[in-house]
């Protein structure tokens, strides 16, 4: 494995396939994605193992893992920013498990999400989850106190819901992350 990896160049320049002029941003998109967590992006050999078991590919999403990686290497930034596929990824990690080059296509998907978040190409449900995380300490917050009472539990779980100091601590953490920097969530 190590021997194979030594021969892999750091950057595979396939930009000539794009059939149009590239912007500086497009040229840099692969580098940006690597910085956002997809460190082994360029090790992909387009074998298709990840696509063969991806739920998104099965149900017909456009830019599933294999295609997304190719598009990023080609620098097709704007096309990707307009597409919801990364936000549909279930993070199942089948692709990570099966990838023979240890690319972790899941990491590529999520690096793409992070790029989209920086460009504010982010779904309202994701913003809702982030706001809920900041406000209550729970992303999935259905105010399910009735359900808890029904089964004989205290109205509030032993979480940030019932511990104001813990919620304050969590908010302090969130204020030191990109979430605060991007201003996606109102933070007092």
């Amino acid at each position: 494995m190590e021997m194979m990896e030594e021969g892999v160049p750091d950057v595979i320049n396939l930009s000539y396939l794009a059939e149009r002029e590239e912007t500086e941003l497009e040229k840099r998109v692969a580098e940006i994605i690597k910085e956002l967590g997809a460190e082994r992006l360029m090790y992909c050999m387009q074998c298709g193992a990840c696509a063969s078991i991806c739920p998104l590919a099965r149900v017909g999403f456009e830019w599933y893992n294999k295609k997304l990686i190719k598009a990023l290497i080609l620098g097709l930034r704007d096309e990707l920013l307009d597409d919801p596929t990364p936000w549909a990824c279930v993070a199942c990690n089948r692709c990570t498990e099966i990838c023979p080059r240890r690319v972790s296509p899941f990491e590529v998907m999520f690096a793409m999400r992070r790029l989209m978040a920086e460009e504010y190409a982010i779904g309202s449900l994701a913003i809702e989850g982030l706001r809920s995380l900041y406000e209550y300490g729970h992303a999935v917050y259905m105010a399910g106190r009735e359900a808890r009472k029904k089964v004989g539990l205290p109205e509030k779980p032993p979480s940030t819901e019932s511990d104001p100091k813990a919620l304050e601590d969590l908010r302090k953490i969130l204020k030191q992350t990109k979430l605060a920097e991007l201003g996606l969530v109102p933070m007092e």
């Binding site: 956002l36 967590g37 739920p55 998104l56 099965r58 149900v59 919801p84 936000w87 549909a88 990824c89 279930v90 993070a91 199942c92 990690n93 089948r94 990570t96 498990e97 972790s104 899941f106 999520f110 999400r113 992070r114 978040a117 779904g123 449900l125 994701a126 989850g129 982030l130 995380l133 300490g137 729970h138 992303a139 999935v140 917050y141 259905m142 105010a143 399910g144 359900a147 808890r148 029904k150 089964v151 004989g152 539990l153 779980p157 032993p158 979480s159 940030t160 819901e161 019932s162 511990d163 100091k165 813990a166 601590d169 969590l170 953490i173 030191q176 992350t177 990109k178 979430l179 991007l182």
Partner: protein, 299 residues
């Protein structure tokens, strides 16, 4: 007595608290002590911090893990998403000293630190390894004799295996959940779509139609190949999705059958004789028939 920090996450806390009651019922009875892990938060789940900032993701996860580490205990969860997010974040910290350093800088501002010792274990693995199949068999009052179960381990129970404290021998041919169900007396045969995704989470919120397509395929496969009486899962998201989405598919005339869905801990709680209203009282697809059958199967 072995002790774990009970990590509930969001779905179990608010949507399916009967799963929480099941855990609080069965584990002390099986010799496992539970710590409430007061002050825990969202793991954080995939659509939140992991989608925005790796260090932020790891910091939120590390705060949760530190709650256990401070007490010298591991966490335990019945939610695959929590299991995945917490262990992936831990793996990132342990394999990337720079991320770990930044996380501890952030944690220092709230007087905490995470060394990387505490991990999150899954209830199914605790039952399989710590409790063991023999003790489980001895602890039940009712069995699943004559009941065919379709197991749904769920994605984050299996992959990526390198980040998890416990691993299936072959993550693409999982055995643990089947063996646990068999220990309760059930038939738990293999079926073709056993490891297929339920389509919950981001997929369902982005495109419900595509998400329900996966449910339809899975349900039809379960019906055709093994004609299961019950679906048993290790994941609270799969539980909600398979329970709720099949009802929608029935209403739309896309399927014409119904299979009740229970979390593994709920099945064990029923087999141990705990109150069905408390441990399995929240559902969309009716469970009365299967619960009745279980309670007729006295050991």
């Amino acid at each position: 007595m072995v002790k774990y920090g009970l990590f509930l996450g969001c779905n179990i806390s608010f949507n399916r608290p009967d799963v929480e009651v099941s855990m609080r019922s069965i584990f002390p009875a099986l010799g496992i002590e539970l710590d409430d892990l007061v002050g825990q938060s969202c793991c954080p789940t995939w659509g939140t911090m992991p989608s925005v900032d790796i260090v932020g993701w790891c910091a939120v996860a590390a705060r949760n893990l530190a709650l256990g580490e401070e007490k010298g205990i591991d966490l335990m969860t019945a939610c695959n998403s929590c299991y995945g997010s917490l262990n992936e974040a831990r793996h990132k910290m342990l394999t990337n000293p720079e991320i770990h350093r930044k996380v501890n800088e952030i944690l220092a501002t709230i007087g905490k630190r995470y060394e990387g010792k505490a991990k999150c274990r899954h209830v199914a693995w605790v039952l399989y390894k710590d409790v063991g199949l023999e003790k489980l068999k001895e602890s039940i009052k009712y069995t699943l004799d004559g009941i065919t179960v379709a197991v749904q381990p769920g994605c984050h129970f299996l992959w990526p295996s390198e980040v998890y404290p416990d691993k299936e021998e072959d993550p693409f041919n999982p055995k643990v959940l089947r063996e646990l169900c068999e220990a309760l007396g059930a038939e738990a045969p293999y079926y073709t779509k056993l490891i297929e995704c339920c389509g919950m989470g981001a997929l369902r919120s982005t495109d419900p139609e595509k998400s329900f397509k996966l449910v339809k395929e899975k349900m039809e496969n379960i019906k055709e190949e093994i004609d299961a009486d019950l679906i048993v899962t290790t994941c609270s998201s799969c539980l909600i999705q398979l329970d709720d989405a099949q009802e929608r598919l029935r209403k739309e005339g896309k399927i014409n059958f119904s299979i009740p869905v229970l979390h593994l801990v709920q099945v064990i709680a029923l087999c141990m004789g705990f109150d069905p209203e408390k441990v399995a009282g929240i559902c969309v697809t009716p469970r009365d028939e299967i619960i009745k059958r279980i309670l007729e199967n006295k050991r």
